[in-house]
Symmetry: C2
Subunit: 501 residues, 2 copies
Amino acid sequence: MKAKYEALLEQLHKINDVEKAMAVLQWDQETNMPAQSAGRRVAQLTTLSEIAHRMFTSTQMGDLLAAAQEEQAQAHYDSTQASMLRVTQREYEDQRLFSAEFVSRKSAVTGTAGAAWAQMRADNNFAGFQKHLEAAVAIAQETAEIRGYETEPYDALLSQYERGMTSAQLRLIFTELKNESVPLLQAIAERSERVNDAMLKQEFPVAAQEAMCRYGAESIGYDFKRGHLGEVHHPFSTSFGRDDVRITTRYAPEYAMSSLFGTMHEAGHAMYEQGIAEDLDRSPLGQGASLGIHESQSRLFENQVGRSLGYWQAHFTKLQSLFPKQLAGVSVADFYNAINKVQPSLIRVEADELTYNLHIILRFELELALINGALKLADLPAAWNEKMQSLLGVAPATDKLGVLQDVHWSQAAFGYFPTYTLGNLYSAQFMESAKQQDPKIEEELATGNNTFLLAWLRENIHQHGNKYDAAEICMRATGKPLSSAPFLKYVHEKFGAIYGL
Amino acid sequence: MKAKYEALLEQLHKINDVEKAMAVLQWDQETNMPAQSAGRRVAQLTTLSEIAHRMFTSTQMGDLLAAAQEEQAQAHYDSTQASMLRVTQREYEDQRLFSAEFVSRKSAVTGTAGAAWAQMRADNNFAGFQKHLEAAVAIAQETAEIRGYETEPYDALLSQYERGMTSAQLRLIFTELKNESVPLLQAIAERSERVNDAMLKQEFPVAAQEAMCRYGAESIGYDFKRGHLGEVHHPFSTSFGRDDVRITTRYAPEYAMSSLFGTMHEAGHAMYEQGIAEDLDRSPLGQGASLGIHESQSRLFENQVGRSLGYWQAHFTKLQSLFPKQLAGVSVADFYNAINKVQPSLIRVEADELTYNLHIILRFELELALINGALKLADLPAAWNEKMQSLLGVAPATDKLGVLQDVHWSQAAFGYFPTYTLGNLYSAQFMESAKQQDPKIEEELATGNNTFLLAWLRENIHQHGNKYDAAEICMRATGKPLSSAPFLKYVHEKFGAIYGL
């Protein structure tokens, strides 16, 4: 007779196959599919999603889970078996909370709100969008009630993306971060003329950008033998299993560096997935631990590696050879400063390493108030503009450049934005610990290489996949809970040096 | 209450979604997937295939079918409803014939035989391959017994690919074809020096080939807004629904014309799928009627359009502009003759329009004898070489260039090869009828255009999808059952003119 655990695993493998098939269809949709086939692709994805959901929430799955848990009752917490059962049980309970009626109603609300958002943003019409946003807030509040929470509804939303994280904890960490970032930003603003990034604002031929992005991803350790670089409108990375983890980027002649750093960002996500232990593949453990931990890997490679002086001292001549006309005569130091220029701006996705978190804190504070009912929708644009002014010292002339800029809220994805800043904080904390634990890492980074760093990440983070929660990963890897201190130390040192503070 | 037919259709739509998801995964496997992920992709495809099979052969499907049939008992034979029920019932009975044990055993046999074939072909070792081929023949014979037949086992295999076609009918048609083709070929061989194709045997830059293939597909009516041209090792076309039908080709500097005619061939298949009526999409009727009818569309566009004098009189200057060095000073007439050169050769996939069918007849006669038990495996290579000599006047020096050249038999795909020649015969019969029914078609083809021809094909063949069997399509479109006469008339006229017979 087949062991109970094996029987469960076989079923989990099959569900994972269906989910990965969906990932392939989604990837194809962005990269190759003719637009006219969009409706048909939605139908295909809906069917696969229903199948996966039905398989996962079936009573058969409940029985398999119960039997396997009984059989593996003595398994050590750290074992693959215990983790598989723990994570699967949690996910099983989560997915069974939502009725088909609710799932379909939520999908209708966000579908309508998403389409309205695209239109109303184009028209700069917040008033027109308001009722859709109200519906999205309401469905998120309903989601929170269904999921349940101890202290406040926002916790239930947050934990969809970052299990175990609470609003209270976020308030604490984000307040520290804000209190130090804002004065630092002001000090930099007074010296903004010290960094000139004019050389980045030229036309960079797309063909050479492709070579540059491939080189950039390869240089930091992305494995092309188990990957693929494609071109899309909105870059992302995706995994069809640890041996096929793809990245995408976007080329525009006037934004050469954003295609490169975007590629490094996606490569960071992808290297995480490529590094998951083989025996976790094709199961609920064969993915990252949380969005925050995932983002820490992308940010670490994009910023702490990709925007470091060591990296560019080693690789700048390569870049110059690809863009001789644009970069001849530019010194490494000037280039390094330029790619790290701090510049308060209106748009989150264009923000630098320091101001990015202020965009997130603004969204966190506003969405918390929306979900708790402390802020009325009609007052949202004014609240947005006021916070922009106090945090970043700039305010948008139109809602299109302000409160209407992101798609996320129309998708009812409240609780999602904080994971971006959590990623930044985790990345600094991981980097600090890695350097402390293995002094060779810092030495090697100074020469533009990161094999020791990657080995540390593989050992302490990547291999574990989804075995542990974000907080557990953080504690195991760094010996401490998440804190804003390492990030603040990092930005003080980095930007202090660049701006002579 | 939902109508019974609608309930059935909803389930058929979902099954079709799963099947099309498999098609996307297979396309991706050939075009983008890193080789290292092959095992994982097999697992994903196996799971989806099991799910689709289970959904389609469930007793729930049987109940839905029975209820819908009762409800639609008065539907006209030609209606979508009646066709849907007829085709689904047939497919349902077919799929339920095979036990899971048999399917998995057959898959194991062909998996092993396929791998052995690749190795033994490389080693030119028929003796080593023989036992695997024996197993493949045995599993095909078992398939025939399970499917059942009236007269001879081969009928049961043939009807997997060309429902309703019989060995007796094929023998008749193929004998007529052979009796006229062989003397025609001999007459041509005596005048082979009249056609010089040296200008095709140069190096053609791949970048210009890409432009050429795109131009070629577009010029005959392939709709890129509902399609995509990709690059692969073994070209194919595939449909994910009528609004996403993709073609692929292969570029090699020394075979420019094979990438172009290969693209036109795949575009012919794809235009068939793009032309299926919208209300048949996402169902068992949303595909071609048979492999033979499918091949008729690819062959028609590759040969009767793509290798016609009218086409090249209109488009040769475009080709010259893409390959000025290679084609400057070449006349249209010389180019037309060159791309139609008849040349008996050892390899099927390199054969011209006339000799191709002789390669197929050889395979048909041999596999018929294998399945009926009239030919022993040990005698197969000698029988192959003897038939090559009598049909084509050439014989291979090694089995690698002879009996070991095709993968199909290792896959137990007996009954498949004839559909290639059926396609050639159907294409000539369709073209003859089209020209008779609409005189504008011939006029327009002489100017290198085919919108009237495509409209005729859409009206008489494409729109019907899988509503009718091949024989029904043929009778409806041409008023006659399939015959070799139109094809023989076509080749006599075409090659008679080229070779001055």
